[in-house]
């Protein structure tokens, strides 16, 4: 049991390294410690760019852009995300990225996103009518 636990921690650490590197190499325009929220919710320090968000969300259309598209096993509709609250979208993507929220496809997608990407996607989606 113990060697397994140690191995798991090691694997997690390794998995976290690229994410850390990505953050460090992120855009310099952001002020990492400044938290700009209108409410109490912890969200993001990064200002989103809707044009970048538009480009980043082409892939999302495959599931979220098809009216009535369903997730299989379990069977339910893929949610409508256009016009959703911005901080909610940021939190959802962060949670998928960290694994706190679970969905195989969404976790795989979110793992490739930087903090800047998530801010861009959220600002684009939340402004859709």
């Amino acid at each position: 049991m113990r060697p397994l636990t140690i191995a798991a921690c090691f694997a997690l650490g390794l998995a976290a390294l690229p994410a850390l590197a990505q953050d460090a190499a992120g855009p310099t325009t952001s002020t990492p410690e400044a938290v700009t929220t209108t409410d109490s919710a912890p969200v993001t320090s990064v200002e989103g760019n809707a044009d970048r968000g538009r480009a980043l969300t082409y892939t999302c259309q495959g599931c979220h852009g098809v009216e009535g598209y369903k997730n299989a096993y379990p069977n339910y509709h893929v949610p409508k995300i256009g016009g959703q609250s911005l901080p909610y979208l940021v939190n959802a993507l962060n949670d998928y990225r960290s694994g706190a929220r679970k969905h195989p496809t969404m976790q795989a997608q979110a793992q490739g996103f930087s903090e800047q990407d998530i801010a861009d996607i959220a600002v684009f989606l939340s402004n859709l009518k």
């Binding site: 049991m1 082409y58 259309q61 339910y76 409508k80 256009g82 706190a100």
Partner: protein, 147 residues
């Protein structure tokens, strides 16, 4: 450690065994489900169909766990969340809303308020809430034509 491993193994065997049994006798199992259906809080057979009126009533009722109703936080018709980090629910797909509530209930999704709010819900209540919020006007859209 050895004990817990043994227990895990025993559980796995028990689960496999019951799964096999269920598969072999699915006809009788379904009958049994139907009989027990009224009392069951949740069923693996899927959610019952939801009723908008019942969902509306429940959406206005303050939950025991948080002292809040759905509407208290998500706003009228689920379209005016009081905190920007809370999602809009109005017109969202009912099946997605039901799935979210099921995940909060079983702990596979967590939120400080939603987890305790959903814990006591029955399948029927989840189906009713999903039907209600899914039937409201929506500020949400799919990404169809958004690019």
């Amino acid at each position: 450690m050895t004990n817990s491993r043994l227990r895990t193994a025993a559980l796995a065997i028990a689960l496999l065994g019951s799964a096999a049994l269920a598969a072999c006798s699915s006809d009788t199992a379904e009958t049994a489900h139907a009989d027990a259906g009224h009392a069951a809080r949740s069923s693996s057979a899927g959610l019952p169909s939801g009723h908008v009126a019942a969902g509306e009533q429940l959406a206005m009722t303050k939950g025991a766990a948080t002292g809040q109703s759905c509407i208290d936080c998500h706003g009228a018709d689920g379209n005016a969340p009081i905190d920007a980090s809370y999602p809009k629910l109005g017109g969202q797909y009912g099946s997605y809303l039901a799935r979210a509530l099921q995940m909060y209930r079983d702990g596979s999704r967590e939120h400080a308020l939603m987890s305790s709010q959903a814990r006591g819900l029955t399948d029927q209540q989840i189906a009713d809430l999903a039907a209600y919020f899914g039937s409201r006007d929506s500020e949400l859209s799919t990404l169809q034509g958004a690019h």
